[in-house]
C-alpha cells in the first residue's frame, strides 16, 4: 500500500469508527443505561429479560420501531412532516465531524508525521459545533408546525425559545475557555490543558456551561418541550415508528456531542489526570503496546479509551440528573437563562480577560 491509500484508509477508518460508535454503540447502549439507571434510582429492576442484563432490549425496540406502521395523520403538512425528523438527525451527525477523539499520533510509526484523530481538520472547531448545533432548532420548529396539533406547536415554540436562549449562554461560557487556551482549535485547546485543566481557572464558565448544555439537548430539568403533564410529548406527539426513532436517536447523539465538548473544553480531553498528563506516566502516544503472539496495538488506544470513559461519565451525569432533579417551570427557565446565565457569562468573559491581561503584565 502506498502513502495515499494509507491516508485514505485512515480517513475512512476515522469516519467509520466515530459514526459506528455513535449510532451503532453509544445510542443503543445509552437507551439501555437510561432505563436501567432510572430503574435503579426508582428502586425497581428495569428491562432485564431480553439478552444478558436486558442489553438487547434496545435492539428489540429498534426492530419494533422499524416494523411499526408509518402513521401519518390526516391534517399534517406532508413534506415538512417527513422533513423534520431528517433535519433533526443531520446536524446531530454533522457536529461529530470536528470532535477530536485522541491526541495527534503516528499510529505506532505508520505515518511519518503525527496525524490528527479528527475527521475534519477545521481551524475553527468549536465555532463549527456551535453553528451546527444551532440548526437543530429548525427540525423542532418544523415538526411542531407540520404536525398541525396544538400540543406540538406549543412544545416546538418552547423548545425553540429555549434552545436559542441557552445557545447564547453556552457560547459565552466557551468564549472564556477559548481566552484561557488561546485557540479555537479543539486539539490545541486540549494541548493547552496538559498540566492545568480548564476546569480550575474556568470553573465559573463550567457552571454556566453545564445547565446550558442540559437545556440545549432538551433534557430534564429543562425538558419543558416534552413535559408530559402539560403537552403530551410536545413536538413529537404526532410522530410514531422510525420517525419518532430518529428524534430519539438525535437526542442521544446530541448528548454525546455536548459531553465530548465538555470533556474537551474543560476536562483536559484525553489527558490522564488534572496535573499528570500521559507523557509523565510514561505512555508514548506514538508508540506500540506489545500483545501476545508478536502482535501489537498502537498506544494511542489508551488516551482514546480514557477520553471515551470521561465522555461516558458525562453521559451518565445526564441520566443521573434526569431521574433526580424535577422539571423547571417555564418562566423559571427563561429567567435563569436570560437574567442569570447570560449576564454571568458576560461578567465571566470580562473577568477572564482582566485576569489574563494582568497575568501577562506582571
Amino acid at each position: 500500500m502506498n502513502e495515499t491509500m494509507i491516508a485514505w484508509a485512515f480517513f475512512a477508518g476515522k469516519i467509520l469508527l466515530l459514526f459506528g460508535l455513535a449510532f451503532g454503540f453509544i445510542a443503543p447502549i445509552m437507551v439501555w443505561v437510561e432505563r436501567r439507571v432510572c430503574a435503579l434510582i426508582q428502586d425497581r429492576y428495569g428491562p432485564n429479560r431480553v439478552g444478558p442484563l436486558g442489553l438487547l432490549q434496545t435492539l428489540a425496540d429498534g426492530i419494533k420501531l422499524l416494523l411499526k406502521e408509518d402513521l401519518r395523520p390526516n391534517e399534517v403538512r406532508p413534506w415538512f412532516f417527513i422533513l423534520a425528523p431528517i433535519i433533526c438527525v443531520i446536524p446531530a451527525t454533522m457536529a461529530f465531524a470536528v470532535i477530536p477523539f485522541g491526541p495527534p499520533t503516528t499510529l505506532g510509526g505508520l505515518f511519518a508525521e503525527p496525524k490528527r484523530l479528527q475527521i475534519a481538520e477545521l481551524n475553527a472547531g468549536f465555532l463549527y459545533v456551535l453553528a451546527i448545533g444551532s440548526l437543530g432548532v429548525y427540525s423542532i420548529a418544523l415538526a411542531g408546525w407540520a404536525s398541525n396539533n396544538k400540543f406540538s406547536v406549543l412544545g416546538s415554540l418552547r423548545a425553540s425559545a429555549q434552545m436559542i436562549s441557552y445557545e447564547l449562554a453556552a457560547g459565552l461560557a466557551l468564549v472564556s475557555v477559548v481566552l484561557l487556551s488561546g485557540s479555537v482549535d479543539l486539539v490545541k485547546i486540549v494541548e493547552s490543558q496538559t498540566y492545568l485543566w480548564n476546569i480550575f481557572p474556568g470553573f465559573l464558565a463550567f457552571l454556566i456551561f453545564l445547565p446550558a448544555i442540559f437545556a440545549e439537548t432538551n433534557r430534564t430539568p429543562f425538558d419543558l418541550p416534552e413535559a408530559e403533564a402539560e403537552l403530551v410529548v410536545g413536538y413529537h406527539t404526532e410522530y410514531s415508528g422510525m420517525k419518532f426513532g430518529l428524534f430519539f436517536l438525535a437526542e442521544y447523539v446530541n448528548m454525546t456531542t455536548v459531553s465530548a465538548l465538555a470533556v474537551l473544553m474543560f476536562f483536559g480531553g484525553w489527558e490522564f489526570l488534572p496535573f499528570l498528563p500521559w507523557k509523565d506516566v510514561g505512555v508514548d502516544v506514538n508508540g506500540l503496546i506489545p500483545l501476545f503472539g508478536g502482535f501489537s496495538l498502537p498506544a494511542v488506544i489508551i488516551p482514546f479509551s480514557w477520553f471515551a470513559a470521561k465522555v461516558a461519565f458525562f453521559m451518565f451525569l445526564f441520566v443521573w440528573v434526569r431521574w433526580t432533579v424535577p422539571r423547571f417551570r417555564y418562566d423559571q427557565l427563561m429567567s435563569l437563562g436570560w437574567k442569570t446565565l447570560i449576564p454571568l457569562g458576560i461578567f465571566n468573559i470580562i473577568l477572564t480577560t482582566a485576569v489574563i491581561v494582568f497575568h501577562r503584565m506582571s
Binding site: F80, N123, A131, V137, Y138, S160
Partner: protein, 192 residues
C-alpha cells in the same frame, strides 16, 4: 477539471437554483427553507475560497440565528398563499424575473472573462496566521480597522437598546381593573 472547480460550479448552480426557488415557491415557509439551503451553499463557496471562519460565521449567524427568526414569524403568522394573492402578483414576478435574468446575462458577459479568472488569488493552506483563519481576521479587525469595528459594535448596541425601548411597554397601571373603568386606561393611551 480540478475538484475545486467541479465543487465551485456545482455549488454555484445549486445557489442559483435555490435562490430562484426562494422567489418562486408559493408558500413563505418553503421559500425560507430554500433560503436556508442557499446560505449553506454560500458557506460552501467561502470554504472553497479558504475562509473557514467566514463560512462558519455564515452558518452560525444567517442560517442559525436570523433565519430561525424568519421561520418563527412565518410559522406564527401561518399565512395561506391565497390570502395575499400570489396569482394576482404573477405579472410582477415575471417582470422582475425578466429584468433579473437580463442583468444576470449582461453581468456574466461583462465579468466572467478569462482575464478575471487569472486575477483570482491563489488559495493558500489554512492555519494560524494565514488568509481566512480566525487569527488573521481578528488581527486585521482589531488592529487596522479597530475604530470601524468598535463603532459598528456601538451602533448594534444602540439598535438593541432601541428595540428594547420600542418593544417593552409597561402594562397600564390599572390593566387589571379594566372591567371596572375602561375609560381610565383609554385616557392613559394604553401605555405609560
Amino acid at each position: 477539471m480540478e475538484i475545486q472547480q467541479i465543487l465551485f460550479f456545482s455549488f454555484a448552480a445549486l445557489i442559483l437554483l435555490s435562490a430562484a426557488l426562494v422567489a418562486l415557491r408559493p408558500r413563505p415557509i418553503e421559500s425560507a427553507m430554500w433560503l436556508i439551503l442557499n446560505f449553506f451553499l454560500t458557506a460552501g463557496l467561502y470554504i472553497l475560497l479558504g475562509s473557514n471562519f467566514v463560512s462558519i460565521i455564515q452558518v452560525l449567524v444567517y442560517a442559525g440565528a436570523i433565519m430561525v427568526l424568519f421561520v418563527f414569524v412565518i410559522l406564527l403568522l401561518n399565512l395561506d398563499p391565497r390570502e395575499f394573492g400570489s396569482e394576482a402578483g404573477l405579472p410582477w414576478t415575471s417582470l422582475v424575473m425578466f429584468i433579473g435574468f437580463l442583468t444576470f446575462i449582461v453581468l456574466s458577459l461583462h465579468v466572467a472573462t478569462p482575464e478575471l479568472m487569472k486575477k483570482l488569488p491563489e488559495i493558500k493552506e489554512t492555519g494560524a496566521g494565514v488568509f481566512g483563519s480566525i487569527e488573521s481576521i481578528s488581527m486585521v479587525l482589531l488592529k487596522n480597522y479597530v475604530w470601524g469595528f468598535e463603532i459598528a459594535g456601538v451602533i448594534l448596541l444602540l439598535a438593541l437598546i432601541g428595540v428594547g425601548l420600542l418593544a417593552y411597554r409597561k402594562p397600564p397601571v390599572r390593566a387589571r381593573a379594566i372591567h371596572t373603568s375602561t375609560t381610565d386606561t383609554m385616557k392613559d393611551g394604553g401605555a405609560s
